[in-house]
Amino acid sequence: MLKFANVCKRYPLTGDVLRGVSFHLQRGEIAFLTGHSGAGKSTLLKLIALMERCNSGEIWLDGQKLSHVKDSQIPYLRRKMGFIFQDYKLLHDRTIFENVALPLIIAGYGHQETTRKVRAILEKVGLAGKEHKFPLALSGGEQQRVGIARAVVNKPPIIIADEPTGNLDPELSEEIMSLFEGFQQVGVTVLIASHDIALIERMHHRVLKLEHGRLFSV
């Protein structure tokens, strides 16, 4: 599903962040990506999101080589990924419904289908009835669930989350994690960057650790 082969990433000012990272995630697998602050977790996720390009090595997603894809193809590839962020990255001047509907509208779904899918996913993350509220009127946990709903509404085969539970208390974190496990059940691959050691230990999933630009399986 997702494959890194000897990937290197260097920032002009910072220097080498990833030095020959290789790993392979199967379909329907959940994995945590850990490492101390500045280890390059976000950088690795940005390579998948095509927000950054790697300097060498190859990245494959769903049989497609991401590392050499043309810029014009990036939007279409991103529709196969769901992104979740620590700071949610919601549009504050749009309602919850509009936020969640955005990927569907972009993908070209009609009004009826969009409405149906958005309602269904909001129900699933426990936000039914709040669709006409604005993000800032919700709690942190609720906003993160909006972010998750937006990430999965178009049924992407892979979900990429950067510190999704960073701002949440342990109880909420587990709630979010159980949502991820639910998606895993239907064959979605999930990669979560996190340094919430307690949470990672409790969850018993595969753990990948970044250290000095190299990746270790724990």
Partner: protein, 342 residues
């Protein structure tokens, strides 16, 4: 969609990495549905973006108003200059009688021969109209020139020749054609001499040529001004909405999807600026009308200020809207290609 869903459920049972079908990749580009469905969805998106962009303008009324007013002033400048040109052309047209050519025929040419000559001249494509003034008519005309005119009665014989008055075509647009006409007329054996105020006409033609050039240059400059003013406004708007653009890009939006509402903003700005410019020009005309017509009366003229025609008004607004749209288009695509989500 069906195909994808079937594949996904299949994947749960067999978690093996399979090379995706080409079809599957394509399907991910857009949702399912027939071509007609897609067209309808696309149209709806554009209609939405159209109104949404209008709404956005309303959310920053002050900034939008400033841009629109600045644009309107530029466009009004171009519009007023065009009106000036149209009216000047009209004034020049009123003076056209001065461009009239008088052929004084030789003394031995009688009225009948003059009429035959006039008929030949009418066939000349450079000539608008031909009028024969007989000796008697000439005398009557002469008499109207006050006490001096009465002197003609003291003569036994009418000394005046038959005169043919010629109105050439396109007096103002042409350089050289009238001179050629005058020369050919001079060659005719019936003609004694030709009289025409060439110098005046040439001067007028020269002024018109300068004015037209100036008009083109000014319009080009103002066109660029419109491009830059709108472009800059849209650029600021893009900067204000970096975060939103970044998020939209991350959920798979193409540059054209993001650009559409901004381009429509450009349209609205140009449209409103065009309408406002029309009102500015109208106001200018209304305030000028009374004094100009009073001035005209002093010169026994029956000059009326011409205003922009309906077609010209529509053209003004359309040109303004499309230039502004073009300006935002250039800026939006340039900026979007440069910004990558961080």
């Amino acid at each position: 969609m069906k195909l994808r869903r079937r594949k996904q459920t299949q994947e749960v049972k067999v978690p093996k990495q399979a090379k995706p079908l080409r079809q599957e990749v394509k399907q991910n580009r857009a949702a399912g549905g027939t071509a007609k469905d897609k067209l309808i969805i696309c149209r709806d998106l554009h209609i939405q973006a159209w109104f949404y962009s209008l709404l956005r303008l309303g959310k920053t009324p002050f900034a939008s108003a400033i841009t629109i007013v600045v644009l309107a002033i530029s466009i009004a400048l171009a519009g007023s200059f065009q009106l000036l040109l149209i009216n000047f052309q009209q004034i020049a047209g009123n003076f056209q009688t001065s461009a009239q050519i008088s052929l004084f025929l030789r003394e031995n040419i009688n009225e009948n021969r003059a009429r035959i000559l006039a008929d030949t001249l009418r066939k000349n494509p450079a000539i608008e109209s031909v009028q024969v003034i007989s000796k008697e008519q000439g005398r009557a005309l002469f008499k109207t020139f006050g006490s001096f005119g009465a002197a003609i009665d003291m003569l036994d014989e009418n000394p005046l020749p038959v005169v043919i008055e010629i109105m050439p075509k396109n007096t103002l647009d042409d350089d050289g054609q009238i001179e050629t006409l005058v020369n050919t007329l001079k060659q005719r054996q019936e003609v004694d001499f030709v009289r025409m105020d060439m110098e005046w006409l040439q001067r007028l033609q020269a002024i018109m040529a300068v004015a037209r050039r100036l008009f083109v240059a000014l319009n080009t400059l103002l066109g660029f001004a419109v491009l830059f003013i709108t472009g800059n406004t849209i650029r600021l708007e893009l900067n204000n909405r970096q975060e939103e653009i970044m998020i939209t890009k991350l959920v798979g939006a193409t540059n054209s999807f993001i650009a559409t509402p901004f381009i429509y903003s450009g349209f609205w700005i140009g449209f409103f600026a065009g309408v406002l410019a029309w009102f500015i020009v109208a106001l200018l005309m209304v305030s000028l009308r009374v004094p100009v017509e009073a001035l005209s009366a002093h010169y026994n003229g029956n000059f009326h200020l011409l205003f922009l025609s309906v077609a010209d008004s529509i053209k003004l607004i359309l040109v303004s809207a499309s230039l502004s749209m073009l300006g935002s288009c250039l800026v939006v695509f340039n900026q979007l290609n440069k910004t990558n989500p961080q």
